[in-house]
């Protein structure tokens, strides 16, 4: 789907709602709302009511959701648009074949995700409403039972078309074993080609793996061979469902076939309807970040270069177009078209200017780069702060220099914290050390990049103040520090499960009392959700588990 045109009918009350939803397209002036010149093919800014100029091609589909949301948010409903079905993937904004990590009771975990994606017009609020409605009903009427009885909360009245873009058969791309295997052999019985149960844990056999190693595959997440993944999909899913501790995880490309699990334990099935699997609850699904916002001078410069190049290419194309048009016009004996004007970058009217990173000029950074020779990955300045990124092996050395060197004298470690970058390759966390020099009035930030499961050396010996801060990092992120006197949790209880500040940890915590905070006292949410879902052709009424 894409939106080709958008315009404002008469009656705008200049409420700014649309600009809040979609600032790229709408601009609310004193009298009315305008469609921005930047987003239009003709480049003019107006209400677009009479001329109905088209949107730029690249924005047509990228801004679709936000324009629809803006139109829905408009209190007087004067935002109108032309929506056309685009060529690819009818009826699904995202290909439904995107690999989704599926926890064991698979249908429950994917279903709510599937509902909004299949919808033609997705509004953030609808999603919320649907989620909330699903959450409440899920909690009261349809608790997640043992896999065999798993109801599909979104029983599609008109099942979404199979994704046209992916005609290939569904296959398992990856399978791995989480912590907690009890070596019960159940999986090996179900799928002996994939699993091999050893004395201590369960392994993924080398024969089916791309890299040909045998391991739990938990950390490396190596892929399955495609042909095996396709052939063994049913048995892997059966094994996963059959796992009594649910540690077999897998990723599927395409629609997972519905597999009936063997009830492996009568007692568990009986207990099932009353136990809510927190991690699978629809309102606890997290959206993982897709970008790696790690500020660095290299990336910034590359981005700038790419932007300049893109701009130049655009200009060259405009000129070439003009030349051909001129030649054509000449050949046909018509007037020559107007030569193109190079777009000048818009003037910044706001009191806001992005503090761009710049080369390291500060003597401290240069001195440290000299001293550490090869251990520094980059040094730059941004927002008036000095940033030094070092290799994890050079960390302790760096801190020693910072504290001990007579021309540096960073006496105090004021802060130490980490950031989780799940989308990054080659590292998973950045750990930053904020140092100050009280005598020289300077601040410095030392940054290291840490891999998942990699330990860092503790700074407690050099800066005793790192003690609690490192414990906090361990508590919140799970990064361990070697040489720390007391590597225990500090804010969460000792037996807490998970590390809360990781991005995969849901905001509605695990183990929390299961209240849906947005209570639906007068049934508004439910009614809205049902109505919206009905428009999408989804039946939200969950069958009562009896």
């Amino acid at each position: 789907m894409a939106i080709t045109k958008v315009w404002i009918e008469e009656g705008c009350i200049v409420c700014n709602a649309c600009e809040a939803e979609c600032p790229d397209v709408f601009h609310v002036t004193e009298e009315s709302c305008h469609i921005k010149g930047d987003s239009r093919k003709d480049g003019r800014e107006s209400e677009n009511r009479d001329e109905k100029a088209e949107l730029k091609a690249d924005l047509q589909s990228s801004l679709e959701a936000s324009i629809v949301a803006a139109a829905a948010a408009c209190p007087v409903e004067v935002i109108k648009y032309d929506q056309v079905a685009s060529a690819d993937a009818p009826g699904s904004a995202e290909p439904a074949a995107a690999p989704a990590v599926i926890a064991s009771p698979a249908p429950v975990a994917v279903a709510p995700e599937g509902a909004p994606t299949a919808a033609p017009a997705v509004d953030a609020d609808i999603e919320n409403a649907v989620d909330a409605a699903l959450g409440t009903t899920g909690n009261t009427a349809a608790p997640v039972p043992a896999p065999s009885a798993a109801p599909r909360p979104v029983a599609a009245a008109t099942p979404p078309d199979p994704p046209a873009a992916n005609p290939a058969k569904p296959r398992v791309t990856k399978v791995w074993i989480e912590d907690g295997c009890i070596v019960c052999n159940a999986c090996e019985a179900d799928s002996p080609e994939v699993f091999h149960v050893t004395e201590t844990t369960c392994m993924i056999k080398p024969g089916v793996r791309l890299d040909g190693k045998e391991s739990e595959n938990r950390v490396e997440k190596n892929g399955l061979k495609p042909e095996d993944g396709e052939r063994l999909i049913t048995s892997i899913i059966t094994a996963s469902k059959g796992c009594p501790v649910d540690v077999i995880k897998y990723e599927v490309l395409g629609d997972a076939p519905v597999v009936e699990a063997k009830p492996h334990d009568a007692a568990e099935v009986a207990a099932g309807p009353f136990v809510l699997d927190y991690k699978a609850a629809p309102n606890r699904q997290v959206v993982m970040p897709k970008t790696v916002p790690l500020p660095s001078l290299h990336t910034y410069q590359e981005e700038q270069k790419a932007a300049v190049a893109a701009d130049g290419a655009k200009w060259a194309k405009q000129q070439a177009d003009f030349e051909t048009a001129k030649a054509k016009a000449l050949a046909e004996g018509k007037d020559a078209p107007k030569p193109p004007v190079r777009a000048v970058p818009k003037k910044n009217e706001n009191d806001m200017e992005f503090p761009a990173p710049s080369e390291a000029k500060d003597p401290d950074l240069l001195h440290l780069t000299d001293l550490l020779d090869g251990k520094v990955s980059q040094a730059f300045e941004q927002s008036g702060e000095l940033i030094l990124q070092v290799h994890p092996d050079g960390l302790i050395e760096t801190l020693m220099f910072c504290k001990g060197d007579a021309s540096l004298r960073y006496e105090m470690l004021v802060d130490q914290t980490a950031t989780h970058y799940p989308a990054a390759e080659g590292f998973a966390f950045s750990v930053v050390y904020q140092l100050i020099s009280i005598s020289r009035h300077k601040r410095l930030r030392v940054r290291v990049l840490v891999k998942e499961g990699q330990d860092l050396e503790s700074a407690v010996e050099i800066y005793p103040s790192a003690n609690w801060m490192e414990r906090e990092i361990y508590d919140m992120f799970g990064i361990r520090f070697t040489g720390h006197p007391d590597m225990t949790r500090i804010l969460c209880p000792e037996d807490w499960e998970g590390h809360p500040l990781r991005k995969e940890y849901p905001t509605l915590g695990w183990g929390q009392r299961d209240i849906d905070f947005r209570e639906d006292r007068s049934g508004v949410l439910m009614r809205m959700a049902l109505e919206k879902a009905g428009n999408m052709g989804i039946n939200l009424k969950v069958p009562k588990a009896d």
Binding site: A20, P23, E353, P355, V414, D415, T419, H441, S465, I490
Partner: protein, 366 residues
């Protein structure tokens, strides 16, 4: 017949003098503390995680609830941190008003500390006087932004509204009285022989240890360091203010008391300067309607009443929420020094030590 063995007792988490839910595990040999282990986390609400899921605009309300006795300072840290992330220039008038309110907030925080600390040690009267003045400042906050404690006072880019008419008069009336009030507290405490006995030489922390343990704020300055972020890395309108940084060298509870009292006088001076030099002009910067961040990472520190309060932000391209937000809470780091202060000392001094560190558990646990 008699056994001698170390006794382990828990102070808190519901002890009245732990100012919240701090639990201190103490190993005692008679009345001497052998080992002291602060146990924290009872008030952990995951503020950082929540703020990562809220927009830059909304997140400010959670900073009110970390150090709830100095919420204006927290608001300032949040607002300035976000402004640094985006590169926003704030109008000068907004800076002045922010500075004034933050200094008033420093006074309330120190007054609350003074009252409760004296109450812990046994001087009841000061509490009543300190709270009388605090009340007046809280009603100034109420007049400015409508709430007394959870102020949410500032906005990214400036202030929501200019100061209301009559606020200046209200502040001036308070200012006229306040120096005499400090004199009254001094009459009650500074020369008081019991107070001196309970505080001089108690909970010692020298400058070296303080720096090693990351202790900042009045506790560090009472040990002889002059580190004050308002002077060293000026923010808001502090570069234009004329004030002194009070220091002491003794590094004990009494020295910290003197430093904090003097800080209140300096805060009084700064508020007067803000009122006198209040520039005209707008109070809000011109900003786009929706703030979308670029990839950037900042650490912004301000001098909160309790020490260095730092906000660490990581911005994501086009993000309306911070990708990562971290609060460097002064109370959290300062509390690390508690074992150093009390080990080898008497049990009764633990109470004085907790009081003199001026921790707020909402901020320790976040």
């Amino acid at each position: 017949m008699f056994k001698t063995e170390e006794m382990e007792i828990n102070l808190g988490p519901q002890h009245p003098s732990t100012h919240g839910v701090l639990r201190v595990k103490l190993h005692l040999d008679g009345e001497t503390v052998v080992r002291c282990v602060p146990m924290i986390g009872y008030l952990h609400r995951g503020v950082e995680k929540i703020c990562e899921n809220k927009t830059f605009f909304q997140g400010q309300v959670w900073t009110d609830r970390t150090d709830y006795v100095a919420s204006v300072s927290n608001n300032l840290g949040w607002a300035e941190g976000v402004e640094k992330l985006f590169g926003i220039t704030v109008p000068r008038r907004a800076h002045y008003i922010r500075t004034m309110l933050t200094e008033l907030n420093r006074i309330t925080s120190h007054l609350l500390w003074l009252g409760t600390h004296a109450l812990d040690i046994g001087a009841m009267t000061v509490f009543l006087y300190a709270f009388r003045e605090r009340e007046e400042i809280l009603s100034i906050f109420e007049a400015f932004c409508g709430a007394r404690l959870t102020t949410t006072a500032f906005r990214i880019g400036g202030l929501r509204e200019d100061i209301p008419p009559g606020l200046e008069k209200q502040v001036r009336a308070f200012q006229a009285r306040f120096l005499d009030c400090i004199e009254e507290y001094e009459t009650l405490l500074t020369e008081n022989r019991i107070w001196k006995k309970r505080t001089i030489g108690v909970a010692l922390l020298n400058a070296e240890d303080a720096i090693a343990l990351g202790v900042t704020g009045p506790v560090l300055r009472a040990a002889g360091s002059t580190y004050d972020i308002r002077k060293v890395f000026p923010y808001a309108a502090y570069a234009e203010m004329d004030f002194d940084v009070p220091t002491q060298t003794a590094g004990d509870t009494y020295a910290r008391y003197l430093v904090r009292l003097e800080e209140m006088r300096q805060a009084h001076r700064i508020v007067n300067q803000c009122l006198d030099g209040l520039p005209e002009g707008p109070v809000m910067a011109k900003l786009p309607k929706v703030l979308k961040s670029e990839v950037n990472e900042v650490y912004h520190a301000i001098e909160a009443p309790k020490g260095e309060l730092g906000y660490y932000f990581v911005g994501e391209k086009g993000g309306v929420n911070p990708y990562r937000m971290h609060i460097r809470a002064p109370s959290f780091i300062n509390l690390q020094a508690l074992p150093k202060m009390v080990e080898g000392r008497l049990l009764a001094d633990v109470i004085a030590a907790i009081g003199t560190l001026d921790v707020v558990l909402g901020e320790v646990d976040r």
